[in-house]
């Protein structure tokens, strides 16, 4: 099996690995880097549990091949907190009880983070549309939308 040398950044930390072609960013994060915040739901782009931010854009880690990682800047849910201080978005999710089992939450957070960076004051419809690639089987979505609205209102993402 041929391996590929890839040099990339995860949450600003430089990483160098040899990877086979037939693995995904998702499996590299979870199995090689022990960053298990990013979840696998469907493995096929449908559920958003694996959402990470690559070069400033929200993408499905399950649809990116390992050799593609060379040169990428990847942000995962582990990068949201600063030290032991969780981010205002994470706090808002807790405050609004925007999770039950929590399996979808890392993906929800990364989708919301990328939405709010692009659009610090989204309307409810814009939130629903931007978050539609993230499935949640527990909450019914209402509290997730409210948590995002609340953190936007505080102006945390104003440029």
């Amino acid at each position: 099996m041929k391996e590929y040398l890839v040099k990339f950044f995860v949450n600003d930390e430089p990483i160098e690995l040899r990877v086979p072609a037939n693995r995904t960013l998702l499996s590299v994060l979870r199995e090689d880097l022990a960053l298990t915040g990013t979840k696998e739901g469907c493995g096929a782009g449908e559920c958003g549990a694996c959402t990470v931010i690559v070069d400033g854009k929200a993408v499905n880690a399950c649809l990116i091949l390992a050799p593609e990682l060379d040169g990428m800047h990847i942000e995962t849910v582990e990068g949201l907190a600063k030290g032991s201080q969780i981010s205002p978005l994470q706090e808002s999710f807790i405050e609004h009880m925007a999770l039950q089992c929590g399996f979808c939450t890392p993906g929800m957070l990364m989708s919301a983070e990328s939405l709010l960076r692009d659009n610090p004051h989204p309307t409810r419809d814009e939130i629903k549309k931007a978050m539609s690639g993230n499935l949640c089987r527990c909450t019914g979505y209402k509290k997730i939308v409210e948590a995002i609205e609340a953190v936007a209102e505080k102006g945390v993402y104003d440029k």
Binding site: Y4, A21, N22, R23, S111, S132
Partner: protein, 276 residues
């Protein structure tokens, strides 16, 4: 996923040469949103994957009224849907690109990948059919162009010869009014049960439907019926009755054949009524 060799050409010529050499053992990759899912399910087991993303100059979207729109083969759905010119001069294409998958998928998926994948329900196909878009092809024997209606041949079958790739899509500019419609089970992140575009250029009409035959289709008889006429209620009724006779949908998990026929009729009636 079966193992394969990942190839990363730096120029178009190199990409063509690799594909010519490995031919059917190789697949091109752009956003990978189709191929990774198919490889994961062992529906696609290539020996070589040729990633086009490091070739410079292929992600542009340019427009002028004289030259029309040009979409480079690496332009993503979100780049197309968010482009000012596309939104202004080709709103049906912007709407179709915006209807594909989720925000995450649209950040990777390309329009060219959507067309080369040649699924009957490819959402960006029907506006491109209506605008008489042209695929720009590069191969071992140089460049050629082919109308989209002749490019998509069957489910997952396109008119690419050995070694050829698509460098971009050219969409001629004509002032038009009309709409793209997507009928799906869920209003976001779902594949089309039926999708369609109806465009009016002066008193000429172009109508295309997807997910109602092995390829997207232009409804030529309905277009002829409407050509040069004023849109009266009687004419719209006639068009809505004729349109479903031009398509040949199947029953599947998403819907029955009859439902699809009804939706073709509905899209034609509804958009024409708005245009009247």
């Amino acid at each position: 996923m079966k193992d394969f060799q990942y190839l990363l050409p730096q120029t178009l010529e190199e990409a063509v040469r690799l594909k010519e050499e490995y031919d059917k053992a190789a697949v091109f990759m752009a956003g990978a949103t189709d191929i990774v899912v198919r490889m994961r399910d062992y529906l696609l087991t290539p020996e070589y994957v040729i990633d086009l993303k490091k070739i410079p100059g292929l992600d542009g979207i340019t427009f002028s009224k004289e030259e029309g729109l040009h979409i480079g083969c690496l332009a993503t759905m979100n780049e197309i849907a968010g482009n000012e010119d596309v939104r202004k001069y080709y709103p049906t294409l912007a709407a179709a690109a915006e209807s594909v998958g989720s925000r995450q998928v649209r950040n990777r998926a390309t329009c060219v990948g959507n067309i080369v994948n040649a699924s009957p329900l490819a959402d960006t196909a029907t506006p491109l059919y209506c605008y008489d878009a042209v695929l720009e092809i590069l191969g071992p024997n140089g460049k050629r162009e082919i109308p989209i209606t002749e490019f998509i041949l069957f489910v997952r079958k396109v008119a690419l010869e050995r070694g050829e790739l698509v460098t971009g899509i050219r969409v001629p500019y004509r002032e038009a009014e009309g709409e793209f419609r997507k009928i799906a089970r869920r209003d976001q992140v779902d594949l089309s049960t039926v999708c369609g575009t109806v465009l009016k250029f002066g008193d000429e009409y172009h109508i295309a439907m997807g997910s109602v035959a092995p390829t997207p289709l232009r409804l030529k008889k309905t277009e002829e019926l409407l050509a040069g006429k004023k849109l009266t209620k009687e004419l719209i009724d006639e068009a809505a009755e004729l349109a479903p006779t031009e398509v040949n949908p199947i029953d599947d998990v998403r819907a029955s054949k009859q439902y699809r026929l009804d939706m073709v009729s509905y899209i034609v009636r509804d958009v024409l009524t708005k245009l009247a």
